[in-house]
Symmetry: C2
Subunit: 288 residues, 2 copies
């Protein structure tokens, strides 16, 4: 665990996160910038960006390089670590858990982009009640029980193998064409079946896949992008976007959000502008 | 009068206005971009901008040139004409009056920046009831009457001379150190006096300056920057900023606003992002 208490933790290092970082850094706040994906595959793959004022007709890769160079010119390190969960400890300090370490900060800016994935029916409802996004965090709660892993990324394969050691049964559901290479033999792979719903009463008891219903106590889900609710479950959302006011404050004190995760249109200049305002709002919050 | 009905009229050609223009143009809407000041003296005079993501450590003049070059690369003409007033005619078409001409548009995006000037006491209350910002538009209403001109710009000198031909008496109050060169002799200059208030019952009847009270029916005010209320008086404001929602819609249907005129922080990236969203909102409004 890193012992420094940062002024601002920025989760996500796409355009909104980088813009928040440069603004907070210029305002002399200590920041930790954490992101699983470095300035987004979406930007990198864009063949031509023509609507970011001042840089006409630029390809996504070049623009991304300019963004990263700007960030590095201010000596802002980017930690390529995916934040798994956020807790608020005593004294109003936030703790951010990654696979590799733990970080502490006085404020948080969420700039995690938007997931294009549709949620599974029942997913939202059962977060913290059987639905989890992190086996390292929550796996031990399911020791000796049956669980399913729904994976769109290779991380799901690793975590399924980890769960296989502690759970009585692990089903592996391969989402979005992921090839389940490297799974332990005890894991039961279910292929080419649509996940219909996660059901239960107070807690998860079943996952319905195609015409099967598997009895499980836990469902672990691995996607490229974050669901905002998986970071801080108290966040108010609308259509899976984080509700913010015009200063990019969320309903949780000390937590700000910017960029695609706050709503449409999903646009670069919007994200950069919002990252700036969220950073300046966090600075103001810290100074008062 | 220009007979084309544009999809979008953008009032103001600072960063928010230019960003709105490039986005609307890419979305193939016809636009007229009107601004008295070309991409703002404020930006031009800035010695160093370091927080516009992608263009680190750039001076204001160079950044402004990049913005203007981007706009011109899309064949968007900028008309250096100051909009004096906006009316909504039949069929929901807006008419924009400038000194030089008149333009018509289906939607309006206001990106007029922010005035740092304090309003005169009574100014807001008497807009349209004696307070005016345009002698060409409203001067004839005051034929044969007494008026005062409060001028921070040379435009006030021109308009005072025009008013001197039609009014029985013109007082000229020089604001902000403006040297009143070229005024007609009949105009009475009042120097080094603070304007205390504009007063009256239903209509303006007096302007209080220092310890004098001048009997006037009209007060014409000329500043570098716009008061949002002088363009469209029905706009809802808070602290002289235009109220907008997260899509940058104002309370008036078809009218959007972006940049400093919508509120703090007064920042470049914020203005560029908001201009983009306002343009995309106007596009959506036009398409539905």
């Amino acid at each position: 665990m890193n012992k420094e208490i940062y002024d601002i933790a920025i989760i996500g290092c796409g355009p909104a996160g980088l813009s928040a970082a440069i603004n907070a850094s210029i305002r002399r706040k200590s920041i930790v910038l954490l992101g699983g994906e470095l300035c987004t595959p979406k930007l990198q793959k864009s063949p031509l960006v023509s609507n970011y004022l001042g840089l006409p007709e630029i390809d996504g890769r070049t623009l991304r390089d300019k963004f990263l160079r700007h960030t590095r010119s201010l000596d802002i390190p980017i930690l390529q670590e995916k934040v798994e969960s956020v807790d608020r400890s005593e004294g109003d300090i936030f703790s951010l858990q990654t696979k590799e370490s733990e970080y502490q900060a006085r404020t948080i800016i969420i700039t995690t982009g938007v997931t294009v994935a549709e949620l599974v029916e029942g997913e939202r409802e059962f977060i913290g009640k059987g639905v989890s996004y992190c086996a390292t965090c929550d796996g031990p709660l399911f020791a000796g029980q049956q669980v399913a892993v729904l994976a769109f990324t290779n991380e799901g394969i690793e975590d399924a193998n980890f769960l296989a050691d502690i759970c009585s049964k692990v089903y592996f559901i391969s989402g979005g064409g992921l090839v389940p290479n490297g799974l332990k033999e005890v894991v039961e792979v279910i292929e080419n079946q649509k996940v219909e719903a996660i059901t239960g009463n107070e807690f998860v008891s079943e996952i319905k896949i195609g015409d099967r219903a598997l009895a499980v106590n836990g469902v672990f889900i691995y996607r490229e992008t974050y669901m905002p609710a998986q970071l801080i479950s108290r966040l108010n959302l609308t259509d899976n976007h984080i509700n913010v006011d015009r200063l990019f404050q969320t309903n949780v004190k000390g937590v700000f959000a910017a960029g695609d995760c706050t709503g449409k249109p999903y646009q670069l200049a919007k994200a950069v502008g919002e990252g700036q305002v969220a950073a300046l709002s966090a600075v103001q919050y810290l100074d008062h």
